[in-house]
Subunit: 261 residues, 2 copies
């Protein structure tokens, strides 16, 4: 909805910043503590008159003036969110409360980047918005899964009780330019290995997919067996269809690898 009004101020708490928005005349503020984010991802915006970068941890209160908040701040891949589970929990609970308190004070709309992991190890395929999920509250992934679940609860509580406009997106595995090449998830691993002429193991260590599948089963307690979104609603209401983004990602990775060589 921001396209209608060219002097909107965006408060993006971002991993993948909303590229292009600062050029459209929006004032964009990116808030990040650079736990997993890299300044390089936004360096082409630094110095732009409509762009501001705040080095800040969302676990601490934040007082800025904005119209829209994109609350994306959270470690996102399993190795990152399991690195410091307590910090993951604080970011998704206190951090979300702070962003909702900010939204309430300034009357901003807030988008929460939630995750398919709220479905846990789903017993229904594919998953749609009505499915309640199947999550182990005290398992190794719970810091992220339960953190995001309660972040959703918080959003709807501020909506019902305080009239804050909220949107919640349950994002499944995403890929594209500027994604982490080493986030340890399957898409980046496969592309990287293919580009480097290594066997596709889905894992930095050397296993065949079959071995790896066996390894996952034995090691990764509670690792979801499979997850697949029900995308019919997005298609019906937004006309959205999955597009071939893999090629873009592969091109980005190969540029990055050249750059490193």
């Amino acid at each position: 909805g921001s396209e209608e009004n060219s002097d909107h101020r965006w408060g993006g708490v971002c991993g993948f910043p909303p590229d292009g928005q600062a050029d459209d005349g929006h004032e964009v503020t990116v808030v990040d503590n650079f736990f997993t984010g890299r300044k390089r991802n936004v360096e082409h915006w630094i110095g732009h008159e409509n762009f501001e970068l705040i080095n800040h941890d969302v676990v601490e209160p934040l007082y800025i003036e904005v119209d829209q908040i994109y609350h994306l701040a959270s470690p996102a891949s399993p190795p990152n969110y399991m690195y410091n589970p307590i910090k993951t929990l604080k970011t998704n609970t206190i951090g979300t409360l702070n962003m909702l308190g900010l939204a309430k004070r300034v009357g901003a709309r807030l988008l929460l980047a939630s995750t398919s992991e709220v479905y846990g190890d789903p017993e229904v395929h594919p998953q749609n918005e009505e499915y309640w999920g199947h999550v182990n509250p005290i398992g190794p992934r719970a810091c992220y899964d339960e953190g995001k679940r309660v972040a959703e609860t918080m959003c709807y509580a501020y909506m019902k009780q305080e009239g804050v406009e909220v949107r919640v997106a349950r994002i499944f595995n995403t890929f594209g330019s500027r994604m982490h090449m080493n986030d340890g998830r399957v898409v980046s691993n496969f592309i990287l290995q293919a580009l480097q002429g290594e066997p596709l193991t889905g894992n930095p260590e050397e296993h065949t997919i079959l071995e790896f599948a066996r390894l996952i089963k034995s090691l990764a307690q509670d690792d979801p067996q499979r997850r697949r979104p029900d995308i019919r609603k997005a298609n019906m209401m937004l006309g959205w269809e999955p597009v071939e983004g893999l090629n873009k990602t592969i091109q980005y990775f190969s540029r990055e690898l050249e750059h490193q060589a």
Copy 2:
């Protein structure tokens, strides 16, 4: 385990304070903001040399010196926790983080009073500790259910990451002396109505059980259909058996009603 050491200091954040402990030579500190708790429940301890009462909200940090923490602070009955869902969420998230931070700093053991509501509307009967639950993360009860689920996650995260000794008890519907007569749940409603010679409706409004059951079904979106604990483990490991506590509760209620008359 406190019985072995007579100069233990207890930090009880309490609804039903651990009666008798102050008499056993333990120093007992009760922390409560009196949201649903009543000073009357502890007034017989006020003035006792081993007893201290702190009027404090666990959403704010708390710096005291204790050996054991009973983290019971939370609105507990549906009308109470739905009265202010945001406060329920803050108490169970920020409040739990504060109690765990306290436990970590002073090296105290922490017991979390969790709930059978972490099982939501269970699809397995009876429920044991291995069941992951069936909770709607954005339903009307989510402020409590998801708040308690993530509170459990936090406890185990502080245990694994910081070595805090934690215990989590998933309490099913409890009754006894000094319980709220008007908490709106089925046990207190039935006793109260029976004592007052009213029809047993399970509800302050006048409905038969059948009507009420229909009403629940139509009104209470997501109201769990039934919940029943699997108590074999408690019996096997602790020799615990449910005892006839209903009579005590009925006696307490009838004394209270006489007192009010």
